[in-house]
Structure formats: structure tokens, C-alpha cells
């Protein structure tokens, strides 16, 4: 699964730390999600989408191998 959190963060002008604080996780977790090393739970993915005010599928996309 890939995501465009980095792009959305740049649009909203917030840092990894700000996003981490808003969704209640560590900065490491946001960093590994952004670099596609960790797939978040549905709850966390929904929380992240809510911060950006967009539907889940605008932020997270399935890849062919998923």
C-alpha cells in the first residue's frame, strides 16, 4: 500500500511531528508510514485522513502486489 502523506503534509504545511501529535503516535511511526515501511491500522489511517480532511482513498492507495 502506498500513500501521499508527504504531499498532503506539504500542502497543509505541517511537519511529521505535528501530524504525529494530532493522531497520537510517535514521529517514527509517521516517518515509516511515509516511506512505506509500515502499514497503519485502519483506525490510524482514518485518523490521518481526517487530519487532512480528505477521504481515506485519496491518501492511501492499494498497489498491484497488494
Amino acid at each position: 500500500m502506498k500513500n501521499n502523506i508527504r504531499v498532503e503534509r506539504a500542502i497543509k504545511d505541517i511537519t511529521q511531528g505535528d501530524l504525529a501529535e494530532k493522531v497520537g503516535v510517535s514521529r517514527q511511526t509517521i516517518n515509516t508510514i511515509e516511506s512505506n515501511k509500515y502499514v497503519p491500522s485502519t483506525v490510524l489511517a482514518l485518523k490521518i485522513a481526517r487530519v487532512f480532511g480528505k477521504p481515506l482513498e485519496d491518501i492511501f492507495m492499494l498497489e498491484d502486489r497488494d
Binding site: 497520537g24 503516535v25 510517535s26 517514527q28 511511526t29 516517518n31 515509516t32 516511506s35 509500515y38 497503519p40
Partner: protein, 143 residues
């Protein structure tokens, strides 16, 4: 995230304190002629001096390692939980590998029990801390 039972963050320091305290305790005990009852199984009763000494040193270390292993991180989120479970899985694999190998190659069941007390906890702590270290390193690399 659902709260899971873990010791508070500060307990980690208490745990390391117990592990470190175990070293002088066993050195003093051995200097006073207390030997590990596994080396020389007591034949009379429980709770003799040697047995109490063994309980104190082994339990202090096992309890210390247990508390270190299951203390909360500063921010305990779902990724940390994932790393924790993964490390626990590896610790069980290694523990059973060591256990099976020692059952086959070592004819000394008493020490196998003692080994079994440390191996999963120590391996879990090493694997878990290493995974956290890698996460932190990848973060500092990206700035």
C-alpha cells in the same frame, strides 16, 4: 489504540537496577561459599541458606529482565506494539531452538531450566531495542 497492560515507563530503570544489583549479590554470595544449588542439588529441605540465596539472585535477575522487557515506551503506539510482538515471536523461536539443541546435546536438565529463564527475555530485549534503534536511526537520517 486499546490500552494493553505494561509497566510504566520509569519501571525500565527499576528493572535495570535489579539486573545490575544481581551481580554484586551473587558475587558476595559466592564469596561466602553459597553455590548454585543446581550445581549441587540440596537433598534435605527447601528454604535452606543456599536455596534462599538461589531464589534471591535468580529471581532478582529474572524479575529485572521481565520488568525491562515489559515497560512502556515513552510513546507506546501501534508500531511499537507491532515491533514488540515481532520481537516476542523471534524470542520464542530462539528459545525453542536453544531448548531443543540443549535437550539433544546436553545431559544436564537443571541448567537447561536456568537457561530457559534468561534466553527468551534477554533475546526479546536485544531484538526489541535493536528494532527501536533502527527506527530512530532512519528518522535521524531523514532529518
Amino acid at each position: 489504540m486499546k490500552p494493553h497492560f505494561l509497566f510504566p515507563y520509569w519501571c525500565r530503570y527499576l528493572g535495570w537496577g535489579l539486573v545490575i544489583a544481581h551481580v554484586p549479590m551473587s558475587m558476595i554470595g559466592r564469596a561466602h561459599g553459597m553455590i548454585n544449588p543446581l550445581d549441587n542439588p540440596p537433598t534435605e529441605s527447601l528454604f535452606t541458606g543456599e536455596h534462599l540465596f538461589f531464589i534471591c539472585t535468580s529471581l532478582v535477575m529474572a524479575l529485572g529482565l521481565f520488568i525491562v522487557a515489559f515497560s512502556r515506551e515513552k510513546i507506546e503506539d501501534e508500531q511499537i506494539w507491532h515491533v514488540r510482538l515481532d520481537s516476542l515471536r523471534w524470542a520464542i523461536y530462539i528459545n525453542y531452538l536453544v531448548l531443543i539443541a540443549s535437550l539433544i546435546f546436553i545431559y544436564d536438565t537443571a541448567h537447561i531450566l536456568e537457561l530457559n529463564l534468561w534466553v527468551p527475555l534477554i533475546f526479546f530485549i536485544i531484538r526489541f531495542r535493536w528494532a527501536i534503534f533502527r527506527l530512530n536511526r532512519s528518522l535521524s537520517r531523514e532529518g
